[in-house]
Subunit: 208 residues, 2 copies
Amino acid sequence: MAKAAPSERLTRIPGGGGRAVRLARGQRLKLINTHGSQVVDTWALSSADHSEYLSMEQTRRMLFKLWPQQGDRLYSNRRTPMLAMERDTSPGVHDTLFACCDEWVYANYGCPPGHANCRDNFLRAVRDLGIDPPLVPNPLNLWMSIPVHDNIGLQIGHPVTRPGDYVVLRALMGVVLVFSACPMDVTPINGPDCQPRDVHFSLSARRV
Amino acid sequence: MAKAAPSERLTRIPGGGGRAVRLARGQRLKLINTHGSQVVDTWALSSADHSEYLSMEQTRRMLFKLWPQQGDRLYSNRRTPMLAMERDTSPGVHDTLFACCDEWVYANYGCPPGHANCRDNFLRAVRDLGIDPPLVPNPLNLWMSIPVHDNIGLQIGHPVTRPGDYVVLRALMGVVLVFSACPMDVTPINGPDCQPRDVHFSLSARRV
């Protein structure tokens, strides 16, 4: 497990599982890639209006980048800054291109019905908070590596993260943050052994 | 204007304007880049359930490509094949990365309120058909050129299309297709003279 400051209270997200957490404006969340190999699908909804969501297509357009880097702001579907990626101790390879895994992709791979998936994790996590989302947005896939070849081809890579690397996200508005420690165990998106593993997060005090 | 077969009835989409059209399963639509310089934002909704929409994040994942090419199928947010790109006479450079232009991007550029935009074109076109869409999806930006640099950086390019180049889309389910001849006149996304221009389409007979 990652080293934590004495006052840092860590919450576990089990490998393959999901979790939603409310952040007040200004509050920070530190998400730790405890074992270094785990992709974490990440969404945000505005607390004030759940139809405003973290939008990868707006974020790419505003940053002119395929994914955000340390110091960048992340934008909603109304082009409003929603989160800041304040810190990223990892090599900074993430993905915004691929939909979250869902029951249909596991069916395509021939898995029996009921395989855990990021889409169900998202829906369950937000419904546990009493939210009925109008859609499942394209997530920010933290630590997921999708190299682009010849300006068009996409490939599944392995995470290049080290154990204990972390990202700090600061809320620029009140948000519901949702994480899914991706359950993918067919492709090597979570590393060559295809093994989903736990990640952990800590929250700063509110209104810092 | 592009050459049309004698029986081909062309419908005009004015430069900067939008249009929605219903396609039955199996029906084809030929979209002509009449002047060669125009980006056309393209969406599809399932006729049977408007919460099923053409999904760029699913299409990229299913094709392992940044954008579809001639012969590819395009997928819905339920990973169902929705459209086929049967023919593409253009050099085949399109985009799926950028959100459609909207009132907020023109405000960022300092334009006065009320500038035509693809988001409003989409909403108006589907509402004219009595549809209240649950969201504005990430469009397929036909003929839009967004080169990727160093695996992360994105740049606005010019269309590389020739006058009269066309794409043929075949409906793999009943769909509402929506087009917006992008009104962007600030950046050179519609060519170096920043001038939106008309495009045209024709429809095959139903149930071919």
